[in-house]
Assembly symmetry: C2
Homo-oligomer: 214 residues x 2
DNA sequence: CCTAAATGACTTACCAGTCAGTCATTCCAG
DNA sequence: CTGGAATGACTGACTGGTAAGTCATTTAGG
């Protein structure tokens, strides 16, 4: 028993990231309230006091964790449609693929789910997430939709509403994944669902009645 | 100061319902962990001890509250398509309307959101909800879809997947409503969103009138 | 050595759950 | 009717356990 799991290390640079990563995994498993600072510390291989060297409170850890996971998501999305050469339909296809990858990554998806669950207790963060992540995703999609409409590729529709309809199945797939898959044995392959979604969606917004796909 | 707010009343019959209603409103505002039994009691105009006359624990209150809000939802849904005379498209239209009403009722929608948020801590309840509410909603929709396909009204598609795509925007609208509307000032009218959804969805699954290409 | 990062025992606050006592209501005896 | 005894719904101070946050001490690393 006497063997100390690890000698105490001093890693001023790496700590904050390690702590937030441990925090994400712990919040993901138990939710905000049921997570103890000792849990996070143990997972990061550190004692509780160490967390307080870097963050002033549990809430601060939570907020920092959410912020740390904003940029990667946004960048993935924006990278997915950087290619301006493609047709609007192709760009939507790429977007669905990119979102599908995010939706399949349980660790990434945990963040919005936590924001959702804690919106009542962290209204400021909810507003922030609403604008910085969801707002950007919506603009991204409606930008592509408007381009397609201007180009005559898609019918004229309310781009803001249509963008929401485009994203809805992705969001539901993501939430489903984190909520029910750990609890039951018959998962629906998100890839199949999203392929069908793209097919139906493109058909429903296509400009001419006689099909759109080349 | 001496004035007692209210004389103590004895209402053995009405209490359980009043307690669950107070519990719903409190859980809705703060989430499960952050609500205190004293909060629920105060909202119900009762002392904390009284709750324990009717429910053995905080978790029991939560579970009872969820169960109490199952049946109304299911019955609303099933009533919405009871009319077997109509076309499948019309029945989908009625379903969207019914779901839209549920989605617009912030109190009702809070329940699935709480289930979602607490699925990790109440796996049994998550499974239960998955089967008794979501499962039933999915069968309802896929039943209508299959009837429409058999009738030649809709294209042949995977009914289970398509049903999920049909429900996704309703679910997202509901979650949006409870999460972001209290936090910002520019709500999207769910009615507009769902009307567009129905339009696009029906178009995407319609059998090709002009003998089009698959 | 010296500094500052890391530790973990300690303090403090909070809250689920308990239970001895209170009082509104009912119901019979006179 | 009436009053007072019995009932049991209701109360709220209290307990025990838990966990956030602190800080005097320890020790890695330069």
């Amino acid at each position: 028993m006497g063997s100390p799991a690890r000698p105490r290390l001093r890693r001023k640079e790496a700590r904050p990231g390690e702590l937030l990563s441990a925090a994400l995994d712990t919040f993901r498993e138990k939710g905000f309230a049921a997570t103890r600072m000792d849990d996070i510390a143990a997972r990061a291989g550190v004692s509780k006091g160490t967390i307080y060297l870097y963050y002033p409170s549990k809430e601060a850890v939570f907020e920092a964790m959410v912020r740390a996971n904003l940029l990667p998501n946004i960048e993935r999305m924006e990278a997915a449609i950087a290619d301006e050469e493609r047709s609007s339909a192709d760009r939507l296809r790429l977007l669905v693929t990119a979102f599908g990858e995010i939706a399949g990554d349980a660790r990434l998806v945990a963040v919005p789910k936590l924001v959702l669950a804690e919106a009542g207790n962290f209204p400021e963060m909810a507003r922030f997430y609403r604008h910085e992540v969801i707002g950007r995703a919506l603009s991204l999609v409606s930008g592509v939709l408007e381009a397609g409409m201007a180009h005559g590729e898609f019918r004229r529709l309310d781009a803001a509403l249509t963008a929401r309809l485009f994203l809805a199945p992705v969001i539901v797939a993501a939430l489903w994944q984190t909520t029910f898959v750990p609890v039951e044995d018959a998962p629906v392959p998100p890839a199949d669902l999203l392929r069908l979604h793209l097919d139906l969606f493109l058909r429903s917004i296509a400009a001419d009645a006689s099909g759109g796909a080349p």
